[in-house]
């Protein structure tokens, strides 16, 4: 199925100027690139959560599992375990992955399951109309916190480093070329690839001027040096103005969760015979 039409007929309902368009564009390029390199798109699965980001499942004409809020990763993990030949990609929101489904995020990194997770980090709950998320800055005035939030944001890259993710990167929706490169590298990496994408929410948290001012691309950075990676990760705390590095911070080559499972027998054993043998041991 070469040259498949990648966009479905579903009506697109993102706001004009939404960063999700850029991510969709980059994903499309990623899929085309995969296909060019010989991966059949029949062997690609996208799993999404719930939120503006998750509409990606409706818009891309590939295998998709439109899951529920916060639950991208257990689904994606199991799909990979069930069929290790599949390329499994997750698109999650920051509310999705850092609030509702945080436990799954830590475990996916800890297990180093060979899937790729793209976080559409607009630092706000888009779909539910503008409440704060775990990466909103202190004092963020959302509809649930009209006087401003009373809690600091967390730094998801720091968390992923600590949890054992073997690929940690950050992209920005207004830097397409770099975003495409990071996405391609993330999918190619064997293990849990985590990409936090700073995504503009045109309606509820448009901070593109801040990002445009502070972002820079990592250059001459050794992704295999964890200490250097951590230094860069800690540069910006998602709260105070500081240089915001973009690119791949960390890569580790370690065995994958799916790779550690025993290879399934080509021909499974005759079940009834096995069951009777097990029963014999209970006599």
């Amino acid at each position: 199925m070469n040259g498949r039409q990648l966009i479905t007929g579903a009506q697109n309902t993102w706001c004009p100027g939404c960063g999700n368009f850029s991510i969709q564009f980059a994903l499309k390029a990623l899929l085309q690139d995969l296909e060019k390199r010989g991966t059949s798109l029949d062997d690609v699965v996208l799993v999404t959560g719930i939120g503006c980001h998750a509409k990606m499942a409706d818009y891309l004409n590939i295998n998709t599992f439109y899951s529920i809020h916060g639950r991208v990763l257990p689904v994606a993990t199991a799909i990979k375990l069930a069929n290790p030949d599949l390329t499994v990609i997750g698109c999650a929101g920051d509310g999705d992955a850092y609030a509702e489904g945080l436990d799954h995020l830590i475990f996916a990194a800890k297990r180093n399951v060979d899937i790729t997770l793209f976080i559409h980090n607009n630092r706000v709950y888009g779909l539910t109309t503008g409440q704060y998320t775990p990466t909103s800055p202190l004092g963020f005035k959302g509809r649930s916190t009209p006087a401003g939030t009373l809690e600091y944001p967390l730094n998801p890259l720091e968390l992923m480093y600590a949890s054992g993710a073997s690929f940690v990167a950050r992209g920005y929706t207004r830097n397409q070329p770099l975003l495409k490169k990071i996405m391609a590298d993330a999918v190619r990496h064997q293990g849990f690839s985590f990409v936090d994408i700073l995504q503009i929410c045109a309606t509820y948290f448009d901070v593109h001027d801040v990002y445009d001012k502070y972002v820079y691309e990592l250059k001459d950075h050794d992704t295999h040096d964890p200490a250097k990676a951590m230094k860069r990760i800690l540069e910006w705390d998602y709260n105070n103005p500081a240089p915001i590095a973009l690119g791949t911070f960390l890569e580790r080559e370690i065995p994958t969760f799916d790779g550690r499972f025993p290879v399934q027998p080509a021909v499974p054993a005759e079940r009834m015979g096995k069951i009777r043998t097990i029963l014999e041991s209970y006599r």
Partner: protein
Amino acid sequence: MPEYSILIGGKAGEGLNKAGIILARIMNGLGYRVFMYYDYPSLIRGGHNFSIIRAAPRRIYSHRTGVDFLLAMNRETLDLHAHRRSAGTVAIFNSDAVKAEGIGLPLSQIAKEEGAPEIARNTGIIAGFCGASGIPWDVLESTLRKEIPRGLESNLAIARRAFSAVEPVPAARIATLPRTEKILPFLTGNEAAGLGLLAGGLQAYVAYPMTPTSNLLHFLAGVPADLGLTVVHPENEIGVMLMALGFAYAGKKVAVGTSGGGFCLMTEGFSLSGMSEIPVVVMLGQRPGPSTGLPTYSCQTELHFAANAGQGEFVRFIVAPGDLEETYFWASAALSLSWKFQIPSIVLYDKNLAEHGYNFDIDSVPPLPDMPAMAWDRNTPYRRYALTESGVSPLAFPSAKGAVVKVNGYAHDESGITTEEAGMVTRMQEKILRKGEGLAEDLRGMPTVTVSGSKGAGDTLLSWGSTAGVCREVGEALGLRVVQPVVLNPIPAGKVREALEGSRRVVTVEQNATGQLEKLLALHSIRPDGRILKYDGRPFALDELEARVREALA
């Protein structure tokens, strides 16, 4: 006909479950049918544990209050179970720990002299029991050889000394039964459930530990690798359910296991199964709540929770087996039905069935009807939710050439794309409910209601799940009919009514405080004349239920 009850008790953490199993296997080997009750508090060490092994020449499903042999590893066991003794009860105890009337064996000292660990004292007391009841040495020895993989020689040495130290008690002799019937395997409901799931084609099992289904997880994690089963223990039950749906989306037949508390966390994913039409089987072992409740005890309190769990309206299959044969059959059938209709199923059992020991006769299990899932023909353009007359859409899995497989928890169109259009939403709601008709049709030919006891009797006990087992025995003893709806959703109301036909009085028997089966049947205008409820976490003892039934029917 002779039957025997043997209690072995001591401190938690001293291997009393294993000791009970050895006693049960000894009795099983002598040709008896056995049941083993295992009572333990929710802790690892200290506290009191005991097993009651009941053996009879016919199939049994319950224990009795009174015991013929009381095997006490400590003083507490003699004190706590004094009410179970009668004049003929033989007490055997560790005389290094207890001074009492009866047969004392210096078990701590023997174990020490043989250089065996403390736990080997259990072997000594079992050997003492065999000596007192005249069970031949070779029966004991062969059982120990099978059951004790580590430290066998020192255990045998202890057994020999204890066995020969005890004089047979003529009045307490246990005979070997003539070999007219085959020796049946003796196992727990969890083990039978695991085997049933495997027979149904299980390819993945996902669970987070929780009594009383942890042992199903342990059992399936230990089956031979060439069965091709993937077992995962994830971060929590939310992850469990969503992982299960991921497995099934990718084409793997999957089950999960938990108890009420874990199922609370699973309900969100359970509802996703209903909407996205991804099959999953939930092995739901009941234990008393609310909340953490009595973690290691038994009840039948989740019937309505199971029937109503998850937002929205969708078809689910719920079955509550009452014995190991039913557990095996229905675990397997649930998997097939889930896949045929692309719905979630719940196998509702309880601690009494999951963790207690019973005989299992695989040859008496009815053959499973062939129920293939509907596969995509690979010709027509693929639409995951194609509208069909039966409501069932053909299945394809990712990597199928030319199929774009889109599943969705939102209301969706035939291709799986989100829609809020009123017409499509209506058609899809009707589609997922229509599958219930095919399910009910398939169930019509299956043993969804069982009748036992004195089948033609006028007075009837109406029960479900593991409680039906003890009802069968009471029914046989008192000449009562016993009716047990095995499938609870969709409830086979017609068959229940038929089974009750000609009854004079109908009494429900349930292990809960509110009469959950009774409430369910009331929705179908089936109204019993009396009810027997019990809600202390302990399953009915045979004599206890007998007395309550007599009272109810007086």
